[in-house]
């Protein structure tokens, strides 16, 4: 189940600060687009503007062709658009199970929810082991997995992940990337993943875009960017 996401000439920022300065992106349904960029390039602002946490100042966002520019997050979620924000966002004072249940907040069919929960547990066995544990007491890597699990609970057609690898040890980063690729492969979910960790994320990407000071400076195949020295030039 997948859907495409596109934005045209998107402008967004805080106050007068124009962080995203006219960006076009096209994420094909069922594919993985990797968005790279250094600190302050505007990646998180772009993500928030796409999802509706931030109202864009210009341009448009389309989900599966339908205009969703500036629409409230709650409606996007109901429409199958999931967001995994930066910093492994989980509900720290609630258990893993409760966290997952909340992930499926917009879903009212309890049977579906139970089935999806099992799917998440299958993908991340460690969450099954710790289902009754408070999310705040888990390690960073586990919380990140939980964050992804939360997003999966409402069977999204599109998942937007903002720097899922931040602060994680290399082996966990690999696990997260692997899971994202698996979600795309088995569930067909369209993925837009924002990253700074080029090494780990490049292998799973079908297509790569690079953001620099609010503008897109590259959009194409991942291959040419595997050469890191060349990448440094780009940055």
């Amino acid at each position: 189940m997948s859907v495409s996401l596109a934005c045209t000439a998107l402008v967004a920022g805080y106050g007068k600060k124009r962080v995203v300065d006219g960006v076009d992106l096209d994420v094909e349904a069922g594919r993985i687009l990797l968005l790279l960029g250094h600190n302050g390039a505007g990646k998180t602002t772009l993500a928030r503007a796409l999802f509706g946490l931030l109202a864009p100042e210009g341009g448009g966002v389309r989900l599966g062709g339908a205009d969703i520019t500036g629409r409230a997050p709650a409606r996007n979620v109901a429409d199958g658009f999931a967001f995994v924000p930066q910093g492994h966002g989980v509900f720290r004072t609630l258990t893993v199970e409760d966290n997952l249940e909340l992930g499926g907040f917009v879903e009212h069919d309890r049977a579906q929810l139970a089935a999806r929960r099992e799917q998440v547990f299958a993908m991340f066995p460690i969450l099954a082991e710790r289902r009754a544990q408070l999310a705040g007491t888990m390690s960073g890597g586990q919380q990140q997995m939980l964050a992804v699990g939360i997003a999966l609970m409402h069977a999204p057609r599109l998942m937007l992940l903002d720097e899922p690898s931040i602060g994680l040890a290399p082996n966990l980063v690999e696990k997260v990337m692997h899971s994202v690729a698996e979600i795309n492969r088995t569930l067909g979910t369209t993925i837009l993943i924002i990253e700074q960790n080029v090494k780990a994320s490049l292998p799973i990407a079908h297509r790569v875009a690079v953001l620099k000071t609010g503008r897109k400076i590259y959009d194409g195949a991942p291959g040419p960017l595997a050469d890191h020295v060349k990448l440094m030039e780009l940055f």
Binding site: A74, P85, F91, L94, D98, L102
Partner: protein, 275 residues
């Protein structure tokens, strides 16, 4: 004991603050209004006491929800910083407290007390009013706990208290939930308000002490923790009663504030707080 009274106040205030992040000083007058609603139903409409209490709770819930919708929500929409909203709530406090005085007069409102008994339990002397308070605490805290942890809506409230941004990310309508939090919190605070009405009578000024005690309970117990607020309230009651023995009556109210002062200096996060 007073502890359970403060615990309920703390719980109500913590529910509102934890969910909406608004320091709701108008909590005091809304509390007073609930007592007046109860009194009105009992004295003017000749309702039986239990029905009057229900009326009081309903008054509180509606008044609380209205304070959010009419006063606080416009500030939220404008993006005002929390300090501005806090000061606005101080203004609302003054406005409502005096409005109550104007509408209802300054005399103390009383309702005929139900038959009360005095029980002896070891060295302690307990009145039925105090038993009512403790029962109220247990029942309400228990019911609230069950509601929050078992129902979908309740969990949404907990989610908002825990992480407001994530709550929006998973699709919770935070505005609607804020109204519910205000209504629910005010309803909970209405119970001790009615009990005080029965025990001591209601005045327009009763909210003043109530909101500050609620605040102390929340801060002592840890800002952001509902359990902490209950514990804080109980602790406050304990400190007050031990203080009562040694300190002359006039100073007793100040104990709470000294406690607040000390806790804020030494451990601003309170006993259970994580923020």
């Amino acid at each position: 004991m007073n502890g359970s009274h403060y615990a309920l106040l703390g719980l109500a205030f913590a529910l509102i603050f934890g969910t909406t992040r608004i320091t709701h000083f108008a909590f005091g007058p809304v509390y007073a209004l609930s007592a007046y609603g109860c009194w009105f139903a009992a004295a003017k409409l000749a309702a039986p006491l239990w029905l009057a209490v229900v009326a009081g709770i309903a008054t509180g819930a509606v008044a609380g929800a209205l304070t959010y919708l009419v006063v606080y929500r416009p500030f939220e929409r404008k993006g005002s910083p929390p300090l501005v909203i806090l000061i606005a709530s101080l203004g609302l406090f003054i406005l409502l407290e005096n409005a109550i005085g104007v509408v209802f007069g300054t005399d103390t409102k009383v309702v005929p007390a139900p038959p009360s008994g005095v029980f002896l339990w070891g060295p302690l002397v307990i009145t039925s009013a105090q038993i009512a308070q403790i029962v109220a605490l247990v029942v309400i805290a228990g019911a609230l706990g069950a509601y929050l942890t078992r129902t979908r809506f309740g969990k949404a409230v907990l989610a908002m208290t825990d992480n407001p941004e994530m709550a929006r990310v998973i699709g919770i309508d935070t505005r609607r939930l804020s109204v519910v939090a205000f209504a629910l919190g005010s309803a909970i605070a209405a119970v001790p308000a009615c009990l005080i009405l029965v025990k001591d009578g209601a005045t327009a000024h009763m909210g003043f002490i109530a909101v500050f005690m609620a605040f102390v309970a929340v801060v002592v117990g840890g800002v952001g923790s509902l359990r902490g607020a209950v514990a804080g309230g109980l602790a406050l009651g304990l400190v007050e009663s031990t203080g009562m023995a040694k300190i002359p009556t006039e100073w007793q109210n100040s104990i709470a504030f000294v406690l607040l002062f000390v806790v804020l200096l030494v451990r601003p996060r309170g006993l259970f707080g994580g923020r």
